[in-house]
């Protein structure tokens, strides 16, 4: 390397690590101040206490919100898997016409403004009489997480050696056993990655949920959103930090189960 190339490399590396630090900084700050002994937010934190975590865990309304969010995340992901896998199979394995359109319809929620999807769902549910209900929240979450499953499963199916399935069929396995014994295990990494993304997308969503919430039916991010706009204190930091811990678990799971470098480039 020439001197100017060395300087260029040095500048690039500095820029990149500054950028990566920029990405980590707000999260580190929140975790740090959630342990402060002061009554107000301060950085660096003063002392160390778990009081703020105890306070929010003692408040059942926060636990209810967390329970609702977890229930929505798991239910919508499960339904999205049941929707996404068959659709991916039909798209890649059939000669039905119009599959490009089908593909576009299922992936569209990814690119259309979530706030508009939320508004549409509220208006529609109001007409049919299920506005601001668990059902309204759930179907909305399914719509926005389906693309994550569909995309990763489609990618796994595209890379897949079809002779494996043909061998199973030739050896006398039924279509069903071939799917469960051959196809499913091979698309499993894609499915796991898609499902983890789906879980998280549902878990952190505000823009869609906010239209169909009530005081008694409020996912945790929406509750946090309402809280942050009026007051911020170390308890909010503790709740926020708790959601960051969930994110850490999800990222670690993703890395261990699929390999984050493999997933990353296919997620965009």
């Amino acid at each position: 390397m020439t001197l100017s190339e060395r300087i260029g490399r040095f500048l690039l590396v500095t820029l990149v690590w500054a950028g990566l630090a920029f990405l980590a900084l707000p999260l580190i700050i929140i975790v740090a101040i959630s342990f402060t002994e002061t009554e107000y937010l301060t950085f660096p934190p003063v002392g160390f206490t778990l009081r703020w975590y105890e306070r929010f865990l003692a408040d059942t309304s926060y636990l209810d919100s967390i329970g609702l969010s977890a229930s929505l995340a798991f239910a919508s992901t499960a339904i999205a898997v049941l929707i996404g896998v068959p659709v991916a199979l039909a798209i890649t394995r059939s000669t039905l016409p119009g599959m490009r359109i089908v593909n576009t319809i299922f992936l569209a929620p990814l690119i259309l403004p979530t706030i508009v999807i939320g508004a549409a769902l509220l208006q529609y549910a109001s007409i049919l009489g299920f506005a601001r209900s668990y059902t309204a929240l759930l179907v909305g979450h399914v719509v926005i997480v389906v693309p994550y499953i569909l995309r990763t499963v489609l990618a796994s199916l595209a890379r897949f050696d079809r002779t494996l399935e043909e061998a199973a069929l030739d050896l006398g396995a039924s279509g069903f056993s071939t799917f469960f014994l051959v196809t499913l295990p091979i698309i499993k990494p894609g499915l796991v990655a898609g499902a983890l993304f789906a879980l998280i997308i549902s878990w952190i969503n505000v823009e869609l949920s906010i239209f169909n919430t009530t005081a008694a039916l409020m996912p945790i991010p929406v509750k946090l959103f309402n809280y942050v706009q009026y007051s911020i204190d170390p308890m909010v930091a503790a709740i926020s930090a708790a959601t960051i811990y969930v994110a850490i678990v999800a990222v670690v799971l993703l890395d261990v189960m699929v390999g984050i470098d493999r997933v990353a480039a296919s997620q965009k």
Partner: protein
């Protein structure tokens, strides 16, 4: 294994019915409602009201301006990170570490991330104390609740999308082209400027498209980071639906945002389709 079309139709029947019932029809409802008045009669009054005075055109202008700035910032921060991960980092462990740093924020809600920036940018925040310690300013600078803080917040949530999209395309670039350029005596700068960067352009366009669309429709970040002082499109839409209960006018605003988004997508697709590696950027 082919699936017989009869079974395929059965496989997609229920999912398609679900999407029709809870995605396509609701959008239809919004479009229809936007062309009706409160009594249900056909009318263009909602659109006339949007264009009637300077308020909503100004909201749209502010939304565009902030989104464009955030997209530009995301590119400036995100591209080097993507390039570094794909082309510079050698070990898989280091690459995974970088990806974890990129994906972690993506897995954290916009509220939590904005909240982090509220703390950083506040009068007593780390940014202001650093500026004062360095002697760049004597008194705390008002950063929070300005347009600058909205751009910072938006950039922060959008950088990961830019990194992942650009990295996806950079990965597909044939390394032998880069090696050929170096072998023929081009410097690394020249190779980057004349080989790698042009080939990665579809990724930049796809990434900018995703980032800009997300910025234009962002609700949480502008709400928190503006402290209500700046109004963007998504905030106007939610105000109509959530507090003023004027669904018809809200619908017209939503359709406006939708049309803008679709036009942008169409324009970018047109550009990407013309690029040799463009299809990979979208399908890859």
């Amino acid at each position: 294994m082919r699936i017989r079309n009869f079974w395929a139709a059965l496989l997609i029947g229920v999912p398609l019915a679900f999407m029709a019932a809870f995605f396509l029809v609701p959008f239809g409802v919004v479009v229809i409602a936007s062309f009706q008045d409160k009594a249900g009669a056909w009318s263009l009054a909602n659109y006339a009201r949007i264009l009637g005075d300077s308020y909503y055109p100004n909201v749209l202008y502010v939304t565009f301006k902030l989104s464009l700035l955030a997209t530009l910032m995301s590119f400036l921060i995100g591209y080097p990170i993507a390039y570094y991960i794909v082309a510079v980092v050698q070990s898989r462990a280091a690459r995974r570490f970088c990806y974890i740093l990129v994906i972690m924020p993506l897995f954290t809600s916009n509220i939590v991330r904005s909240f982090g920036w509220m703390i950083l940018l506040g009068r007593q925040g780390l940014v202001n104390t650093t500026l004062m310690t360095l002697g760049l300013t004597e008194r705390p600078v008002q950063i929070l609740f300005t347009e600058l803080s909205i751009v910072i917040g938006l950039t922060y949530i959008l950088v990961p999308f830019m990194v992942l999209t650009v990295a996806g395309v950079l990965q597909t670039i044939d390394r032998s082209l880069v090696e050929a350029s170096l072998d023929l005596g081009a410097s690394r700068f020249a190779t980057f400027a004349r080989v790698t960067f042009p080939l990665s352009l579809p990724g930049v366009v796809a990434g900018s498209l995703i980032v800009f669309t997300l910025a234009v429709s962002a609700y949480v970040v502008p709400s928190i980071m503006s402290g209500g002082r700046t109004v963007v499109m998504a905030m106007s839409i939610f105000e109509q639906y959530g507090s003023l209960f004027d669904f018809n006018f809200g619908a017209a605003l939503a359709v406006g945002l939708l049309v803008v988004t679709l036009v942008l997508i169409a324009l970018s697709l047109l550009f990407i389709e013309r690029q040799p590696s463009g299809r990979q950027a979208m399908n890859g």
